[in-house]
Each structure stands twice: as C-alpha cells, then as structure tokens.
Amino acid sequence: MKFASLQVLLLLCLGLLSGCDKFEYHPYDAHISGSQGLTARNIEQIQSQCAGKDTLRVAQISDTQRWYDETQALVDAINARGDVDFVIHCGDQSDFGLTKEFEWQRDIMAGFKMPWVCIIGNHDCLGTGEDVYHAMYGSDDFAFNASFLHVVCLNTVAFEYDHSANVPDFTFIRSDRDSLLATDSLVLTNTIVAMHAAPGNEQFDNNISDFFNYSLRKYRGLLFCLCGHDHHTTTLYPYGDDLPFYMVASANRKTYILYTITRNSYEREVVQL
C-alpha cells in the first residue's frame, strides 16, 4: 500500500517535470516547444496583406547564426522603418543545428511586425537540424505570390546531401512553373528566386548549374535572385549580367537589403545599422 502510493507520487512528479522544458533530453532531440509550421502561416499572411499592391518592399537578411543580439537589432531596425511588406531570411539561422538554436532564432524573428519566411542553409542541416527545420517551418522548397510578384524559395545546399536528395529540386521548380500557367500574366508579372548558396558556391551542385539557369529563366519576368552564405554583401553574376544574384552579409555586420519592387523594375538599397 505504502509502496503503491510512493509509485503514484513518483509518476506524478515525472509528469510535472516533463511539462517543464528545462528538463532537456538532448541538444539535438528535435523536441520543439512553441510554434511550428511557420512558413505556411506566413505565406498566407503575405498573400492576403500584399494583395493588390503596386509597390512591394521586401527586406533580405541572412546567416544570423549565433548572432542573436545582432539579429534582434536587425528585427528592430526593419520594424522601425514601418514600410516593409515581408522579410526573406536566406538561411543559416542555426550554427550547430541544435533544436534550441532554432527556437531562439524563431522567438527573435517572431518580433517582426510583418510576415517573414526562412530558407534552409547548410548549417541548418547539421545533426537533426533539417528535421527541426521541416517541423518548425515546413517544406524546404516553397513559393508564394505577393500581388504581382511570384517568390520562389529553394534549398540549394546540395553539398550536405551527398546526392541522396534532389537539391535543387527541379521537379518542384517545374511543377511550380506549371502552376503559374493558370494565372493571368497581366496580373502576376514578375518572379524573384531566393536561396542560400548561389551557383558556383561549394555548397551548390555545380554540375547542374546550366540547367538551373535554364529552369530559372523560364519563370515569368525574372528580376533577380537572392542568396547568402558567404557572409558579405556583394552581387554575383554567374549567368551573365542580366541576372544578378544579390548576396547579403551575415548578421554580425548588421546589414539588410531592402528591395522596392514595382512591375518589371526595382530598386535595391543596402542598409547597414
């Protein structure tokens, strides 16, 4: 009798303890607390909030890994402008792929007053990081429409996959392009493509670089591409000077790039805090 009541007490205690996230099972346990499925939720907000706009303002940040203070500063600065429609994070939010790192970064970016999306970077693939990314954000290839602009976000860190996965996923790109055929080309006029590693980078599968170029250029009114990974702000032209790849610096340089996009034209402004 006495022993049984002790057991019940012990089980009760364990029940209480398991509710407390301080009792961690492993740094890579992929036991996520807090919100998940964020990409779908943010895309929905972008599509509804940007509908009908003639001018879009898009902010680009990248490589915020283990620079939490600086990421917070970037979130505050982008919020303070008050004119940004949505933010694209070009990957590497985690440094080691730890579950907690994803939670910390997510909680900082939850401070954005506008919707935001995150692309997967090579550091995000470490350990169980990729699984955490999928649970917390969703698919690593996704696309959405913001008024006249089609935004494609791709996983391009092929080096992490040893050719065991389709990275970049041309099946996704083709089906995404096919889905655009049903839309009005006078309403949905332009496309931008965002990724972590640009063609030519060691993370990119450079064997299919030409086919990647061919596939992207089939997109309607392709304006430019976004990328990160190399931790400095620069413009790359891997496929000739009509298709720029704009790279933004890592968060430690407290830099974001603001794109003011109208139909068939855009302006780019590099902001360093």
Partner: protein, 251 residues
C-alpha cells in the same frame, strides 16, 4: 563504415579506460580491501569466499602462496565490479537513462564513475536514438541529517555523451574542406553541479541495496556555452539543463 566507427569510438574507449584505471588506483590507495582474516580460516571455508572457478581444487588452497594469489586476483576483479546503478530523467542523456556505476575513494563515495545508456524518442526525426554517457562525479562534502539520512551539498563533475545515429559525425566527413564546421555533432561535453539526498537502509532491512540516493543536477554543454558567451540575448538560465535521478548502491 568500420573506419568511421573506429573514429567515433576511440576517444570514448580511451576515456573509459582512463576512468577505470583511475578508479582502480584510487580504490587501492584509499581503502585497501583486506581479506587477511581469510588466511586464518581453514581452506575448506575459503572455497566459499573465493569464486567457485578458483577453488574447485580444494586441496591446493592449503598452499598459502597460491591462495594469496587467488585472493589478489579475486580482489582485483571485485574492485572492477559495478557497485551501484543509476536511473535518470533528462539531462542531455536521453529521456531516460540507466546504467552501472562505481563509487570509490574516501568514504567510499567521494568519486563516482557512471556509464549510462539513454533512450531518446524520435520526436520530429525519423527514428529514436541511443545515447551513451560516461559521467565522472566528485562529491567532497557530507551533512548528516539523521541516523540513516545525509545530504551531499555539492556534487560536481562532467560527462561526455555520444549519440548513435547516421545523422551525426564525431569528425567532419572527408568531403568537407578542413575546419569547415570545426566541431563534432556527435560528442557533447557537459559540466554539472548538483546535490543528493542519501538514505542508508538499516542493515536488517536490506534486500538488494545498501543505500538509495535521490539526486538532481543542473548542467550545460559546450555548444550552449559558446552561444551564451557571445550573446547578451542568451542568458545563463536559457542554457541550463536539469535532471533528476535515483542511485541504488549495492555495497
């Protein structure tokens, strides 16, 4: 695959070997177990005190030198036998971990070495995982609360964990340029501080154990420290990990 495995296991094996060697040395110096009384008793009694394998040849135990050798061998292997088992919840070693351990040194329990096997459920990954932990504890102080109860106000130490899954590597795979990531995803080092409450079971009530210890620890690991040290946003509280457990001492 075999080359990979040897990469992973070597540091762990070395550490385990070192700990066992350290323990043996410390035990020998701190509290030599004497079986001197045995030499006084007749040889047919000794066969009950030595393992059966050693004493099948009862007559030979009359040879004192040979008997002492057997006793020494017996003493050596007895000192390597685990004398406690721990079961623990959380603490970066799995949801639940369990494993044998050794307490030794002054008071026979200033030092502890534990080998823990942890179970980590799959959660958002594809499969559950095994975590192996080698844990070294130092608990120098005792506070007596009653006849059979005392508290160790400070237990501290460190542990190394290794996780078994093909998602992790101890050393960066050869495809990467040197120092591309510069750390191991597979091996983690934790430091901890904790306290324990020890209940020594009265002699006549003992069935399997001599004492039961309830303990808790607060720990953190190398990668969390690296994150905390370089950011104001990450506080010390953010990187702390708690665990609770029970330790059963056999003798």
């Amino acid at each position: 695959m075999s080359a990979k495995w040897s990469n992973y296991s070597l540091p762990l094996r070395l550490a385990a070997g070192l700990c066992i060697a350290l323990r043996t040395v410390l035990t020998a110096y701190a509290e030599p177990v004497t079986l001197s009384a045995i030499s006084q008793v007749p040889s047919d009694t000794i066969q009950y005190l030595l393992p059966k394998k050693m004493t099948r040849d009862t007559a030979s135990l009359a040879n004192e030198r040979y008997r002492h050798t057997l006793e020494r061998i017996n003493r050596f292997w007895t000192s390597l036998t685990p004398n406690q088992v721990k079961i623990q919840y959380a603490g970066d070693m799995g949801l639940v971990s369990i494993g044998p351990g050794w307490h030794y040194g002054h008071d026979r329990r200033v030092w502890e070495t534990d080998l823990m096997f942890g179970y980590l459920p799959a959660y958002h990954t594809h499969h559950s995982k095994l975590i192996l932990t080698l844990r070294q504890t130092y608990a120098p102080f005792r506070v007596r609360l009653g006849d059979n109860v005392n508290i160790d106000p400070l237990a501290t130490g460190l542990y190394l964990t290794t996780i078994f899954s093909d998602q992790f590597w101890a050393k960066e795979p050869d495809k990467y340029p040197k120092k591309y990531y510069g750390f191991s995803t597979k091996i983690r080092a934790n430091v901890f501080l904790g306290q324990r409450l020890r209940y020594e079971i009265p002699q006549m009530k003992r069935m399997q154990h001599k004492a039961v210890i309830f303990y808790y620890d607060v720990s953190t690991n190398d990668l969390y420290l690296a994150s905390c040290a370089t950011n104001k946003y990450i506080s010390l509280w953010d990187i702390l990990v708690f665990d609770v457990g029970l330790s059963f001492e056999f003798y």
